[in-house]
Symmetry: C2
Subunit: 212 residues, 2 copies
């Protein structure tokens, strides 16, 4: 049986990781769920449950658990300890920011190449990654053994890029274009939708003001 | 009584808006929940419930509802029809991408100024927005009547920037730094956490492969 995790729960693991690493840097060696909960504003019960699901080793009562071993367990769970190759399509401002971000390698994501339709970008390289003509995506992608395609093109092109990527072997799409993608079953799509995030922020500010 | 909306539900409204605008551009005037549901892969029941919550006008049986009036209702609900001012702190690659993105104005968000600590950036302007020294945030922000602060600085600086912004009158923080912010009650924080989004994608790909 495959254990299931809710989306919200999965989203919390990188946050735990961040806090645990900070604690370790501050010189702490052991941690109790209560102190992690306090730092994050989560309930202690939730922290306990989340950590137990991916890092079942027991702690010493009164002292908590070894921080480094929890970090290791979360990193393993999140796949940070094995590299997955990805390509990115669209290297405008947003795509370049993604290519430039050093943090993804630590998360097990290796962006191996970029694609764009702009002749001024094709043939250049960004941070050591070659930028190819997007029309060559289905030809080049299989040889790169990349199974994740990051989409950072304007909305109008996102669906056709996704279709090409899936034909070329993508099993996961990380979609930064603010549009819905329809893909065959078995292909995982995770959307980063800034409009949706902004909608949540604006609505919560408005409701908050009304309640005051 | 203030109606409450779940985070997931709020996140869906910009997606409805997108699809309804596409339908209108394709020449459709009326829409039934069933066709919206089909385009998005949502259940018809959910579409009906979501739309009824913000756009209660009844449709004509068999013909559906006037698309333009649903669009107008969602835009009003999301606050797209009134402008809110924001500042952005951190205009590196990510911050510049955000400043450059033309879509936010249509969502009612007017980014009026940027702040950075890099002397090469201070005094320049990006897309017509002046970039100021971040040390002047609390002095300049109140005069701009900006109540949202977008944070696009490295994690290590995010908390101190947020603290300054709140002192200068921010009631909402849109946080792009991959770190948890602790702020006083009444300040709304919405995080855009790419590590969390990637965690969801990677886990779902892994689980999917196991299930195949």
């Amino acid at each position: 049986m495959v254990k299931t995790y809710s989306k919200n729960q999965l989203e919390r693991y990188p946050v735990y990781l961040k806090v645990l690493r900070e604690m370790r840097e501050e010189g702490e060696r052991f941690s109790a769920s209560s102190s992690i909960a306090r730092r994050l504003g989560y309930s202690e019960e939730q922290v306990k449950k989340d950590l137990a699901a991916v890092s079942p080793t027991l702690g010493t009562p009164g002292r908590g658990r070894d921080i480094s071993s929890i970090i290791e367990d979360i990193e393993t769970f999140l796949g940070y300890r094995e590299m997955t190759s990805a390509v990115i399509v669209g290297v405008g401002r947003l795509g370049s920011a993604i290519l430039d971000y050093p943090g993804f390698a630590d998360m097990g994501l290796d962006i191996v190449a970029g694609f764009d339709s702009d002749p001024a970008k094709i043939g250049t390289n960004i941070n050591g990654r070659e930028i190819y003509d997007v029309s060559r995506l289905s030809e080049i992608m299989p040889g790169l053994k990349a199974h994740i395609c990051i989409i950072a093109v304007p909305s109008a092109y996102a669906q056709s890029v996704a279709d090409m990527a899936v034909k070329a072997g993508a099993t996961g799409i990380w979609n930064f274009a603010p549009t819905h993608l329809s893909l065959k079953k078995g292909v995982i799509v995770e959307n980063v939708n800034l409009a949706s995030s902004l909608a949540v922020l604006s609505h919560r500010i408005k409701t908050n003001l009304k309640e005051d």
